[in-house]
């Protein structure tokens, strides 16, 4: 087994162990506390916070993927080409809005809770996936497009059998970027009462308990690294299949 794989497995095992029995790791965080503060955040179980954190990211990324890839497909069809500038604008706007601003604007409409965070993550995740899908769908080698047409594939068949499979590694790269950004960004959702690991961090900041901040931050960091890594491995597998020609 490669050393990298061993490290990944060890990190994953440690993460799960910590989330299931956080108290057994109290000794690690105790030095960060003072005046007898608790070393482990217990208002909510860290495991539940992590699961709902992941849930928010997955839900937002799924919707962002569907919308972004859908838009990219639409604007690369001859009939949809005129929507290209508009779609670019929507995706770019999503990226320019600071997530905090989205939260602030969404709370009056959606109320406190997970809703505003979902919207912010969705908007923030759109652009990387859209741009990558667009690149993937528009850079297919002309002789392959030509063959697809020449063998008698209809437009739909070309999309599903040639264009999307060949664009898949790039689309996955976009999803990877989007997921990594979202895992970090989701923490600020806790400022408007979304249940994420941000809760532990914010509690730590309010009570000046460095241990809470550290455990929240560490779990978020490890989640981001592991998912980045996992998605990249998946992407490479597909990229190899699509192959250097």
């Amino acid at each position: 087994m490669k050393p990298g794989t061993v490290v990944r497995i060890v990190v994953l095992v440690l993460l799960v162990a910590f989330l299931v029995t956080p108290q057994s790791f109290a000794f690690v965080f105790a030095p960060l506390t003072h005046d007898g503060q608790p070393a482990i955040y217990t208002q909510n179980s860290l495991l539940n916070l992590t699961l709902s954190h992941i849930g928010l990211v997955v839900a937002a990324t799924l919707v962002a993927t569907l919308v972004a890839v859908g838009l990219a497909i639409l604007v690369t069809r001859p009939s949809g080409a005129e929507f290209l500038p508009l779609s670019r604008m929507i995706a770019n706007t999503g990226q320019t809005f600071p997530p905090v601003a989205v939260l602030a604007l969404a709370v009056p409409i959606l109320g406190f809770g997970s809703g505003p965070t979902l919207v912010a993550l969705f908007l923030y995740g759109l652009l990387p996936i859209f741009e990558n899908a667009l690149t993937g769908l528009t850079t297919i080698a002309p002789d392959i497009e030509d063959s697809a047409r020449g063998t008698g594939m209809s437009e739909t068949q070309r999309l599903w059998q040639v264009e999307l499979p060949l664009a898949l590694p790039l689309i996955l790269a976009g999803i990877r970027l989007s997921v990594t950004i979202s895992i970090g960004t989701a923490t600020i959702g806790s400022t408007v009462a979304a249940s994420t690991l941000g809760e532990a961090i914010i509690a730590g900041l309010i009570n000046s308990n460095l241990a809470f901040v550290a455990q929240g931050g560490l779990v978020v960091g490890v989640l981001a690294i592991l998912s980045y890594d996992g998605l990249r491995a998946l992407e490479r597998r597909f990229a190899r299949r699509v192959g250097a020609r």
Partner: protein, 312 residues
């Protein structure tokens, strides 16, 4: 039977194909030859409607190709291009089976057809069927490309510079293989090339194009002996002409009686091969053997010289 009637196509301000008419008989190999920008590829691509003509029409066995959707037409016409255009994410077997799959053949039938074609193109099924195109050599990729074009047994095969990406040795073999396979399958082939040698080697008839116009449409013999315009002559290369004449005449048509010494040449060789051999070995005549190796006659220098002359 392909009848091309008054086809024209203009891109922006440039006329790519200008009022071209020609008809191609069943089982013929017609080579469209011309320089780049002559409109040869545009003409080819209008046959399977990858490009829609501005005016004129194409009849395939008497039926206008514009009846019905273009993608259905293309499933009946094989199409092979330079650089093969294989789908990189599909295995060799899946690539060859593309059109049968589109036509909804049963899996077993497609698999059998794929194996048959791989055997025909000298690709070992066990070794190559499940490989990806990137794992093949250029020559193998090209053969897979042609096999894919032939998968659904189309009556017509269109080829756009199919051998353009191959080195000269593999190219000569690919041409010979294509010729042999065509003789066997009786497929009508329309092939585009800029290479007059390739045109003469493969074509039953050659269509010479320049700046969108069809300059001459005739047998290789006719084109070499009586080029219609100065441009056609230029394409042929004037110094090469006697050798070109020899290169498409088989020895078996010019057998003489009598004996000759030395090793025989096969009767399937061209007069050009015979001339080379005679000059190289310093003989005045060569014995000619048939496929079984029996000497069936001879070919003399005098005949070779006579056949190389303009009105030979």
């Amino acid at each position: 039977m392909i009848e091309i009637e008054h086809l024209s196509k203009t891109f922006a301000a440039e006329t790519a194909v200008n009022d071209v008419s020609l008809s191609i008989g069943d089982g013929e190999i017609v080579v469209i030859v011309g320089t780049s920008g002559s409109g040869k590829t545009t003409l080819l691509r209008m046959i399977n409607r990858l490009i829609e003509p501005d005016s004129g029409r194409v009849l395939l066995d008497g039926r206008d190709t514009r009846d019905g959707p273009a993608y259905l037409l293309r499933r009946q016409i094989g199409y092979a291009i330079q650089g093969h255009g294989l789908f990189p994410h599909r295995t060799v077997g899946e690539n060859i089976g593309t059109v049968p799959k589109l036509l909804g053949w049963e899996k077993a039938r497609t698999a059998a057809r794929v194996e048959e074609l791989m055997a025909l193109f000298q690709l070992d099924v066990a070794t190559y069927r499940d490989r990806l195109p990137a794992e093949l050599s250029g020559g193998q990729q090209q053969r897979v490309g042609v096999a894919r074009a032939l998968a659904a047994s189309p009556k017509v095969l269109l080829m756009d510079e199919p051998f353009g990406a191959l080195d000269p040795i593999i190219r000569a073999k690919a041409q010979a293989d294509l010729r042999a396979i065509q003789r066997r399958l009786k497929t009508t082939i329309v092939l585009v090339t800029h290479d007059m040698n390739e045109a003469i080697a493969l074509g039953d008839r050659i269509a010479v194009m320049d700046q969108g116009h069809l300059l001459q449409y005739a047998t290789p013999d006719e084109i070499v002996v009586r080029p219609a315009t100065a441009f056609v002559g230029e394409l042929l290369g004037s110094g090469e002409r006697p050798f070109r004449l020899l290169s498409f005449r088989p020895v078996r048509r010019f057998l003489e009686t009598g004996a000759a010494s030395g090793p025989p040449i096969p009767d399937s060789a061209t007069l050009r091969d015979a001339l080379e051999e005679a000059l190289w070995s310093g003989r005045d005549a060569l014995p000619v053997a048939d496929a079984s190796g029996t000497v069936v006659g001879r070919i003399s220098m005098a005949t070779l010289v006579k056949q190389a002359a303009r009105h030979g």
